[in-house]
């Protein structure tokens, strides 16, 4: 399952809902304001790091760049993808859910 988290974890419960439902082997992709979850030193670093034990974590780099966040400000366990990479992730998982 591809989990697309697009809402800021500081504003909505998207991330916490997602983390409640993920299964081993799932993929989480942070996009739009969701990318604030993978910012180094943020409140959600630990949550994402725990999830990375069982899931692969990606973020949409055009969305971090649009928000002035550089790649060295992102937690290292999250891997960057561009829109083409987003398409590939959508192909790799038979189903997706947007939180």
């Amino acid at each position: 399952m591809l989990n697309i988290v697009k809402k800021s974890p500081y504003e909505t419960s998207s991330l916490s809902s997602c983390l409640k439902y993920i299964k081993k082997g799932d993929v989480i992709l942070f996009t739009e304001d969701g990318i604030y979850a993978v910012k180094k030193g943020g409140m959600f670093e630990k949550h994402v790091s725990d999830a990375s034990q069982t899931c692969s974590i990606y973020y949409l780099s055009p969305d971090t760049e649009a928000r002035g966040i550089k790649s060295d400000e992102i937690i290292s366990l999250a891997k960057p993808v561009d829109y083409q990479g987003f398409v590939d992730l959508a192909i790799d998982s038979p189903k997706s859910i947007t939180w």
Binding site: I4, K6, T31, E32, D33, P62, D63, D82, Y83, Q84, F86, V87, A90, I91, P94, S96, I97, T98
Partner: protein
């Protein structure tokens, strides 16, 4: 691979429309097929033919026309549209008004349905 796209959020409050647009362009570039984009809830605001933002501003209508010119079917939910004053008279020439059944068709026809 065939992708169906569902957009639910207003193009003036959220990034959903732009994200969907960028995803569709990337998928087409990679040789994939887009079975259609279904506009639901506040996303239907993108399909008003009278959209006329100041020059130099992001113009949703041009993005819609661009998608149409690339052969992407743009479907607007009739109920969501009617609630927001969108009718056959006000809908953009690039889009078509249809029922929620079209979303079901889209998800059946597509290998993947991605929600924005």
């Amino acid at each position: 691979m065939k992708f169906g796209i569902l957009v639910k959020e207003s193009p003036y409050n959220f990034q959903a429309f732009d994200s969907a647009y960028n995803f569709v362009i990337a998928a087409i570039k990679k040789g994939h097929e887009i079975t259609g984009i279904f506009f639901y809830d506040d996303a239907v605001y993108a399909a008003n033919k009278y959209l006329d933002p100041p020059q130099g501003e992001r113009n949703i209508r041009l993005y819609m026309d661009d998608l149409k010119s690339k052969g992407v079917r743009l479907v607007v939910c009739v109920a969501a549209g009617k609630r927001r004053g969108l009718t056959n008279d006000t809908v953009s020439g690039s889009a078509e008004i249809s029922g929620l059944g079209q979303l079901l068709e889209l998800s059946i026809e597509s290998d993947r349905l991605i929600t924005f």
